[in-house]
């Protein structure tokens, strides 16, 4: 698996994230990792449990949007933190495998509250050097 990289783009109020990866699965996985890097220090999260997110159909943007929303719900509903993510894609069906653990307040610090993954300015673009995605998190 080739990991993608993320950076924050300028935005006045919220967090605008850009991800680059070799292909779509790498971007999907890196997007989830970026989301959790913005929430906590992932190095402090143990790989004790596994969760899987699945989405299918729609455009690459639709799939990224649904993956990120599901990933955020893992924290906000199940109090689960992601250490790392890997993704596979076959015939438009994406499976994202996540490793992590339930929040332990003694070891984990949550940096910020992310209210939602928004569809504003959501983009997935293919270029000669790979795939670039951009999305906006409401904080």
């Amino acid at each position: 698996m080739t990991r993608g990289r993320y950076r924050l783009l300028p935005h006045t109020a919220d967090l605008r994230v850009e991800i680059r990866g070799r292909d779509l699965p790498a971007v999907y996985a890196a997007s989830v990792e970026a989301l959790y890097s913005l929430l906590t220090d992932r190095r402090r999260v143990r790989r004790g449990e596994q969760r899987t997110l699945s989405v299918s159909g729609g455009t690459p943007e639709d799939r990224l949007f649904r993956i990120l929303r599901q990933a955020l719900l893992l924290l906000t509903v199940d109090r689960f933190l992601v250490r790392d993510a890997g993704a596979t894609m076959e015939r438009g069906k994406v499976a994202v495998t996540l490793h992590g653990e339930t929040i332990d307040p003694a070891r984990h610090v949550l940096y910020r509250e992310i209210k939602a993954v928004t569809g504003h300015g959501l983009a997935v673009e293919r270029g000669p050097s790979g795939v670039t995605a951009r999305f906006l998190l409401d904080v």
Partner: protein, 482 residues
Amino acid sequence: MRFEDIPLRQISDTSWEIPRTGGMLVPGLVFASGEMMQDIVRDQALRQVINVAHLPGILYRSIGMPDIHWGYGFPIGGVAAMDVEEGVISPGGVGYDINCGVRLLRSNLEIEGLRPRLPELVAALHREVPSGVGSTGFVRLAAKDMDKVLAGGSRWTAANGYATGEDLDFTESRGMLPGADPDAVSEVAKRRGHDQLGTLGAGNHFLEIDEVEELFFPEAAAAYGLFPGQAVFFLHTGSRGLGYQVCDDYLDVMSAYMRKHRIDLPDRQLACAHIRSDEGRRYLSALAAAANYAFANRQVLAHQVRETVQRVLGMGPRDAGIRVVYDVGHNNAKFESHELDGRRREVLVHRKGATRAFPAGHPEIPDAYGEVGQPVFIPGDMGTGSYVLAGVPGAMRMSFGSTCHGAGRRMSRTQAKQSVRGKSVFEAMEKRGVLVACASHRTLAEEIPEAYKDVGAVVDVVDRAGIARKVARLRPVAVVKG
């Protein structure tokens, strides 16, 4: 004048028109000084004012307040009123934090007398008023109680010992929007909100102790029970995870509606449905339920503040005199009656980062404020101060009874964080005479005073534009943040 590809016509020293072009159904109207406009044009906010002007059924103008900034779909600091028969409701026009708002509590206490006890009081408030990411409230809700909170809002808090009848009298809509349907709120949303009743949250949400520093409109200040030197308590929070999830859930519903009805708009986050459609009605029922949760949340927090202050200071309720001045939201959509083109009409007013500001004599404001207008609270940055305003008739003519809601950010969170370290913010705030208690240094760094526009300039614009009137300036002396 053009800023990039946006034509702007200055109407007065405080207002600008974006003429109707392309698919815009109405012009845009932005309240700002010339200097502010230089900041506003730096992001996408004006483009979003234009996009909102494309929404079916929009009336009069797509409006931006002087604290306008780039949101998703709608700008933050945006107002749009819709015809109830032809128009649409858009979750993006309300925001994720449904009925996020501000409550001001006054007291019989003076800051000078309180000062020696402030460190102890701030520590106790930080302990007793849950804040920060992942914090949980002390109210434990059974499943059936959650539905009662969603249906009853502040009424539920009164029935459970967290509110007095007077608290409800001084809350917008008496703390309960009609038409709330708990069944319109998803189980996921209820789970997100289950442990969060009575929590501040994080980010720009806060509890402040302020000193009433200066009065500009003494008659209104007297009606609101404010006097110079007084200690007041300022709460800013909303509907927490429950509201965020309601917005998320219904953006999907609205997107499907738009595809089905072939509504084409410039931005997918403007997803909407006709107000009279099943989808629109159901969202309005869920919106009212989430708004009620927010009213209940601020009421439970106010109760906790009252109890904590009285306990720490060893005072009874009568001596402390902590009473609600008012509680008003700034992220909502409400059915209201407004005069347009000489006739009175029922419209649905979206306010996203904009505060309802009804004038003297309006039937929906408390009798005690009937002669001076509804109180409006404009929090500034945590180092500078905040304002109390009063609603005025001009807001009914120009902005559907709305005014600004805050200072508005001018610096991204990353920029803010890069410019300081959390610890140095503590020191800088102490030098300004502001005690800070917070759950996260990172949040504190993102919320530095320099990250915000000058709230005084924002308030001057709405005062001069005639869409609110300055009543009092508040100076922060202590801040509790998530």
